[in-house]
């Protein structure tokens, strides 16, 4: 019997067109995602987790694509599983089924399995589409590898099918028990929350296992297992169906089974259909008198336009209250509010440092949390509103009423728009609520209103119109929802296809970054114009919807188009024409700004330009060039106009021993950065004594001048420049944020460079491949002696003398490197003259300008200053402490501080970094100034302190010792700054504060190498873009080194490095020099550490197997510890092989409080090894490398509980 019910359900679905639509759409999505990830669209620069060296045919990528695409199927699952029982209610045929000689079990299981079977067929299309995609000739052959059938099958086994069963069970139960379809939608949204909550939790490292279990779709479990997989592993290994993934699947399938069981128990197989009761009333009806035939009172009827407007108001309020006075709406809003509060409360930032709940963060985080629900509400309730009368079978009566059609349509649209007002107000309520919870009382209601009403609400309103349009055109409720989901998918995927022009991205608007310092800044203009553009577009669409509105029985789209021609009136025609004109006008103005005044930048365009620079001008890289020795800069910033004029002089000296007759100049071109640079107008670029321009390429910014007389060795010549940078009009998205109203920050790239600039070259191998370039050559090799003549900061100069004047608007302070010599006001502008009293490195130029408040302090005879945005006082003390502690540590251990002044300068959160320039540290408001460090928590991560310590240490590493421009350059400047900051932290906050921080360093390294797109390098030869190596691994390795050989010896080696190389060069030192200095201070037994940690990629997998103790007669405890250790060497792609162990590794025993009763290095020479130690107190945990000093692939299993023997 089950089989025949199943077949019936299956066959019923097979006869429906929607089944085929779903099949084709999911096939198409799988196909499309493979094409995008496989390089079929060279312009698509983003890959779906498959970039770099991970092949599109790898088990990892296929798993990701198939699972991800299937994830969008929640809507389909909801429709099919819900309908499996609801269809009988909907078609009033319950009587036939409920009275048939079948058991409840047969009925329910047959229907459920039938629905499941058809879904399995539909979702198989994803794999088919994916497979077909991989066989298309347009794919990049380099992205395709061997593939096996099992790679396609396995995602179904572990992910898709279990998800189907679980999700189906929920919707099936909701519809069977609730006897309504709306709970089914609500359920699908609540399921989505689970997904987003889990992803949010997983961003906090320590919660990963829990997050992996919470995720009903299992995606987090996969991430948890594969997060540290190297590209090689991703390409070759099938995601194992074990551990947290297996448990996740078992857990959720168990819940699914429980839901089905409950459905069986609770489902009532009786005819009393809920909600459709037609209970007969008392029989007094029978004695009713024949109605009197008295005439009805004659009412006056009014049908004026004004009456229609009044009707519109009353209908709108009716539709609105019908929508909101609904338990499911309340559930959705409550869930959204919880999500918003959750997102805004658990405030994440790098290293999980809590941040004060300032208003923009509430809006960004709470708004993001809520927006998912707003999208769901718009999608579902647009459908409900459009279908309300038809669902109640009241449409014929309503449609024959003397009501204007636009009243019917607009009342629904306006009701939906009113709902949005309610929802954005909820975002504000949630934000204020979180602020109150945190005890933060600086509510910026103005900002709340601006952001919610002038930005988000407009976007939601436009979406409301689009949703009404979709439901009107599609005219099938579930298919309409599905089309809306496709619209959202398109919103995610279209920008990845390099289609970034908002002029044709229906209803979408550019992203906005709010900064406390600069408000909406340059993001405001494009947003407002696109709002106007799509706002008018939405009115056009609304007129169209009104014409196509379903009224009466002629509901086929073709008939409605015919009808529309009849329906069109002079009013709607005029309105349409006016709006169309306005739309074209606004669109034209935007086009003028985004395409003519500015160039529409996409990642592909800028990569292409960079490639052109390399292809055309790399030939001049070896051309002998003079070097900059002095810079005299005269900067005029006009913050209101977003203009900066760079005038000045660069003195060049021929440091070679042959005459030079040609000088190459690079003016960093506009089009080679993701974030567009301002337009540059070269007003003057002249060499003293005359010149001939022999090569001129303004678009790539490359020029070669031939001098009238060659520059002899040691000869000097001045290059006069006058460059004007402007930001005309506005751009499509991502405006230039260097020169802004409040918080400008420009660096050396605005000055002329001498010679070909290797920094312009593309680094990412995938991007280079798309541009038909060889693999990235990287920096010159360590053994390239000639390359040591250049430093890592600049190939144009060595140490230079710097002096300059900067002017800005009268209300701003402008800062450049060096000391302030003079400050004055003239003609309403504020002037500052700075001069460095000793040569600085060429790359060390920066200029900041904003309205600042200054905090001053002193460290010995050094002035400490923090230039900050008023209101951002939260972290100033921590920053001062960071500066002082770092200055203390570095002067005590390395060498004296070279400046009389050290300044931190806040800049807007357009970049999330801090950077060290000579005596000057620009510091983003995005990573400091508003963080909250809990003083009670010993291991609280104190980001402002750490970042300040790191940047202060750069005054040594990068501004005293500069490395050569060879591979491994950042092992000196970055790894040593990171090491110094770690040591500063240890000395200031104690060793206990380090464990969590080091654990994050390890996590950063393991994740970083997993996502490596080119080739992982050992620390010795690290490339500049491999932050996970020079920061995370470098810091860890150096920290472990001082633990192994002693801090004093490391300090001694580094002090010697500064002594020999400080303020010197060319030639400049390399990472090999660093290792030599360290080796000199290292005993023979630890020399192997450099082979493992610097010269090779070494990974450990250490594990405590078991630990037992027994109490000795003298009251002490004898602990037996059994450990396992494996040591691997990895190649650049992440292929690893075991190497023999001869290592000294910590063996430790802890008491219940975590205090070490025993901690010593023991020689480990075998994979399995046992140790016996005696401790004084009751042991609790014991194991190997308990502080995780080594790079350990599974760092969480190093300790085992000590059991009583």
């Amino acid at each position: 019997m089950i089989a025949s019910i199943l077949t019936f359900e299956f066959a019923r679905r097979l006869r429906r067109i929607s089944t085929y639509v779903y099949f084709v759409v999911f096939f198409g999505l799988g196909f499309l995602f493979v094409l995008m990830s496989g390089g079929a669209f060279p312009q698509a620069t983003v890959d779906f987790g498959t970039g770099g060296k991970v092949l599109v045919t790898s088990p990892f990528a296929l798993n990701l694509i198939i699972t991800f695409v299937s994830f969008f199927g929640v809507v389909v699952i909801a429709a099919i599983s819900g309908q499996a029982t609801y269809q009988d209610l909907d078609s009033n045929s319950t009587a036939f089924f409920y009275t048939a000689p079948i058991t409840k079990f047969d009925y329910l299981s047959g229907r459920f399995l039938g629905a499941l079977a058809i879904q399995a067929v539909i979702f198989a299309s994803v794999g088919l589409g994916t497979w077909t995609g991989t066989r298309m000739p347009w794919l990049d052959a380099a992205r395709i590898g061997q593939q096996s059938f099992y790679s396609y099958f396995q995602p179904y086994l572990t992910m898709v099918i279990p998800n189907l069963i679980f999700i189906s069970a929920i919707f099936f139960a909701l519809a069977a028990l609730g006897k309504k379809m709306l709970p089914v939608y609500a359920g699908s949204v609540i399921l989505l929350i689970g997904y987003f909550v889990a992803s949010q939790l997983s961003s906090d490292l320590t919660m990963s296992t829990w997050a992996a279990m919470v995720d009903p779709f299992g995606g987090n479990a996969i991430t948890r297992i594969t997060q540290y997989w190297t590209p090689f592993q991703r390409n070759t290994q099938i995601v194992p169906f074990t551990g947290v993934l297996l448990w996740n699947r078992v857990w959720w399938l168990g819940i699914g089974a429980a839901i089905l069981g409950a459905t069986y128990v609770r489902f009532s197989f009786s005819h009393a259909a809920v909600g459709r009761a037609t209970q007969n009333l008392k029989s007094e009806d029978a004695v009713e008198a024949i109605p009197t035939t008295r005439a009805l009172p004659l009412a006056s009827l009014r049908f004026s336009l004004g009456d229609s407007f009044r009707e519109l108001i009353s209908l709108t309020s009716l539709q609105f209250s019908e929508t909101v006075k609904n338990v499911f709406f309340a559930v959705l809003v409550l869930a959204g509010a919880l999500m918003a509060i959750f997102s805004a409360y658990d405030i994440n930032s790098p290293f999980s440092t809590p941040v004060y709940p300032v208003t923009w963060r509430m809006l960004e985080l709470g708004g993001a949390g809520f927006s998912l629900f707003i999208l769901a509400i718009i999608t579902f309730y647009s459908g409900e509103l459009v279908w309300r009368e038809r669902d109640a079978q009241l449409n014929q009566i309503m449609d024959a009423m003397p009501v204007r059609r636009w009243v019917l349509f607009l009342s629904k649209l306006f009701a939906l728009m009113l709902v949005q007002v309610l929802l954005v107000l909820m975002v504000m309520v949630c934000g204020v609520f979180v602020q109150v919870l945190h005890g933060y009382h600086k509510f910026e209601f103005g900002l709340y209103f601006t952001d919610l009403f002038a930005h988000r609400l407009i976007a939601f309103w436009i979406l409301c119109v689009i949703a009404m349009l979709v439901h009107t055109i599609v005219n099938h409720k579930y298919l309409g929802h599905f089309v809306m989901v496709l619209y959202f998918v398109a919103g995610i995927t279209v920008p990845q296809m390099n289609l970034q022009d908002y002029l044709y991205r229906l209803g979408e608007m550019p992203r906005v970054v709010f900064s406390d310092m600069n408000g909406y800044g340059p993001f405001a203009a494009p947003l407002v114009w696109f709002e106007l553009y799509w706002g008018v577009g939405a009115i056009l669409l609304a007129i169209l919807v009104n014409l196509l509105w379903v009224r009466g029985m002629e509901d086929s789209l073709r008939n409605r188009f015919k009808l529309a021609a009849v329906r069109i009136s002079s009013a709607s025609g005029t309105g349409f024409a006016v709006c169309a004109l306005l739309f074209v006008g606004v669109g034209g103005y935007i086009y003028y700004n985004t395409h003519i005044l500015n160039r529409l930048m996409t990642p592909y365009v800028f990569q292409h330009e960079r490639a052109q620079y390399e292809i055309k001008y790399k030939q001049y890289q070896k051309m002998p060039q003079p070097r900059i020795t002095d810079i005299e800069a005269d900067l005029a910033l006009y913050p209101d106009q977003r203009v900066a004029d760079f005038r000045g002089k660069e003195w060049l000296e021929n440091k070679s021993d042959t005459p030079i007759d040609g000088i190459a100049v690079t003016i960093w071109p506009e089009d080679v950065d993701v974030i567009p640079r301002p337009h540059v107008e070269i007003r003057k670029l002249t060499l003293a004594g005359g010149q001939t321009l022999v090569l001129e390429d303004p678009s790539l910014g490359f020029f070669i001048y031939k001098m009238s007389s060659p520059l002899p060795p040691h000869g000097r010549i001045a290059l006069d420049f006058d460059l004007s940078y402007t930001n005309p009009g506005f751009v499509n998205s991502m405006p230039n944020t260097d020169i802004v109203r409040n918080g400008s920050f420009v660096n050396a790239s605005y000055l002329p460079f001498i010679g070909y600039q290797q920094d312009v070259q593309l680094v990412d191998d995938s991007a280079r491949h798309r541009q038909h370039l060889e693999k990235s050559p990287g920096l010159p090799k360590l053994d390239d002696v000639a390359a040591r003549q250049n430093n890592y900061g600049s190939t144009s100069a060595d140490w230079v003398n710097f002096e300059g004047t900067i002017s800005t608007s009268s209300d701003q302070t402008a800062i450049m490197p060096g000391y302030l010599q003079k400050e004055w006001t003239q003609a309403g502008r504020h002037y500052f003259h700075y001069k460095a009293d000793a040569p600085i490195l060429d790359g060390g130029f920066s200029a900041n300008s904003a309205g600042y408040t200054v905090m001053r302090d002193r460290w010995h005879d050094v002035n400490l200053e923090i230039y900050y945005h008023s209101g951002h006082e939260f972290d100033l003390d921590r920053m001062v402490l960071g500066m002082k502690s770092s200055l203390d540590y570095c002067t005590a251990n390395f060498s004296p501080f070279q400046f009389k002044q050290l300044r931190i300068i806040e800049f807007p959160r357009y970049g999330d970094f801090a950077e060290s320039f000579p005596n000057t540290i620009p510091f983003s408001e995005g990573i400091g100034f508003i963080t909250y460090v809990d003083p009670q928590k010993v291991d609280a991560i104190n980001l402002p302190f750490f970042v300040t310590a790191h940047e202060t240490a750069h005054q040594w590493w990068g501004h005293q010792v500069m490395s050569a421009n060879t591979e491994g350059a950042t092992a000196i400047v970055e790894s040593l700054a990171q090491y110094s900051a770690l040591m500063v932290m240890r000395h200031t906050y104690g060793p206990e504060s380090m464990k969590k921080f080091l654990r994050y360093q390890l996590d950063g390294y393991l994740r970083g190498r997993a996502q490596e797109r080119n080739e992982e390098k050992p620390l010795l030869t690290v490339e500049p873009n491999q932050g996970y190596i020079h920061y995370n691994k470098g810091g860890m390795v150096m920290y472990a080194l001082q633990d192994y050989i002693g801090e004093d010896y490391v300090s001694k080696a580094l002090a010697a490095l500064v002594k020999d190389w400080g303020f010197k060069g060319p030639p400049y030192p390399t990472s090999a020099d660093l290792v030599n200095y360290l080796r000199k201070e290292t005993p023979a037994e630890f020399q192997y550490l450099y082979d493992d940690w610097f010269e090779n990629i070494t990974i450990f997998d250490n594990r405590a197997v078991s630990a037992t103790y027994s109490q000795l007669a003298d009251g002490k405890y004898q602990v037996h510890i059994s450990v396992e250790a494996q040591k691997y060497r990895a190649d650049g792609k992440g292929q690893e092989h075991l190497v023999p162990l001869h290592d000294l590794i910590d063996i430790g025993v802890q008491d219940a409080k975590g205090k070490f009763l025993y901690l010593a290095k023991q020689k480990i020479e075998q994979e399995h090894q046992d140790f016996t130690v005696t401790v004084d107190q009751l042991p609790s945990q014991a194991g190997i490398d308990p502080l995780i000093k080594l790079v350990d692939r599974n760092p969480d299993d190093n300790l085992a509980k000590v059991e009583k023997q």
């Binding site: 024949i290 109605p291 009197t292 008295r294 009412a299 006056s300 009456d307 109640a392 009566i397």
Partner: protein, 299 residues
């Protein structure tokens, strides 16, 4: 004010010819539109109620072009569709008042009066606070007619209103209809012959999309006077009789099969003459025994 329908045709995309060259002149009073299921009655009703488009033809209500000026039609229209639902959680009074607004009754006092009067007239006054979800079939149908009467309609279209009502409810419903259908046009579409017999002074029979006959019911029936014969026969003879005579109908009566046949003369022994009724005429028409030139329909 008459409703004139001229040469109305409608074909559905699946090829069904729902209306074919339909012409009718409908005067004030109750007009019965009789036809079997699927004859095209509902299509005609919905077209007149502005819910459907015709492929060709015209319809005018007084000066109003029904097919073009839908809003004008809707202002004088009361429509009770064949099948409809009501918001289950709303009270009868509340929904009727809401409809009254939509029908153009802006004045709140007038609206209250009209709603109350209609609820009284349809005997729903006692149930006015009750949620519509609890209404019986008859009450729901009466509510339907109440909303159709809102706003002083000149044209009322009721499509199969008595289907599914018990006999008592039907009587009550007929009373209601006949009470209102005196000064305005009321089109009653039905496949139940006695509805028309009881209520209508004018009628048309529509079958397979075409108007077969139109006129006054008793005059139409008169045309068969003396031509209808009745006989009780064994059941297994039915096929035989159908072949040999113009058999109008057969029915069981006390276990016997009684057939009516149409014949100018006594057909054979055993047939008794009967006084024809509308049912005989209806069946004779849809069986194609009654020839009626289309021109007769339009005066």
């Amino acid at each position: 004010m008459d409703l004139r329908i001229e040469n109305l045709s409608k074909r559905y995309p699946n090829g069904t010819q729902a209306l074919e060259d339909v012409s009718l002149n409908i005067p004030q009073g109750m007009f019965g539109l009789l036809g079997p299921n699927g004859a095209g009655k509902s299509t005609l009703m919905r077209t007149l109620a502005t819910l459907q488009e015709a492929d060709s033809g015209r319809a005018t209500l007084g000066d109003i072009d029904v097919l073009r000026h839908k809003d004008a039609v809707r202002r004088v229209l009361g429509y009770l569709p064949q099948e409809f639902g009501l918001y289950p959680k709303v009270s009868a009074e509340g929904l009727l008042a809401h409809f009254a607004v939509l029908k153009g009754i802006r004045n709140a006092k007038e609206r209250r009066e009209v709603v109350q009067a209609l609820l009284q007239q349809t005997n729903l006054y006692e149930h006015r606070k009750q949620a519509l979800g609890s209404f019986s079939g008859g009450m729901k149908q009466r509510f339907g007619i109440a909303q159709a009467l809102l706003g002083n309609p000149k044209l009322i279209i009721v499509d199969e209103p008595t289907a599914g009502l018990d006999p008592e409810e039907r009587v009550r419903f007929h009373n209601l209809l006949s009470a209102i259908g005196q000064n305005i046009i009321v089109i009653l579409s039905t496949h139940i012959v006695s509805d028309v017999t009881d209520l209508c002074h004018a009628m048309a029979i529509i079958h397979e999309g075409r108007v077969r006959v139109a006129g006054n019911p008793s005059q139409l029936v008169d045309r068969l006077r003396g031509m209808v014969w009745r006989k009780s026969i064994p059941h297994d003879e039915v096929a035989n009789y159908r072949e040999r005579f113009q058999m109008i109908s057969m029915r069981l009566f006390a276990g016997q099969t009684v057939v009516h046949v149409l014949s100018a003369r006594p057909p054979e022994a055993g047939f008794d003459p009967v006084t024809p009724d509308l049912e005989d005429f209806y069946f004779a028409t849809i069986r194609g025994f009654v020839e009626e030139p289309a021109a007769v329909a339009v005066k």
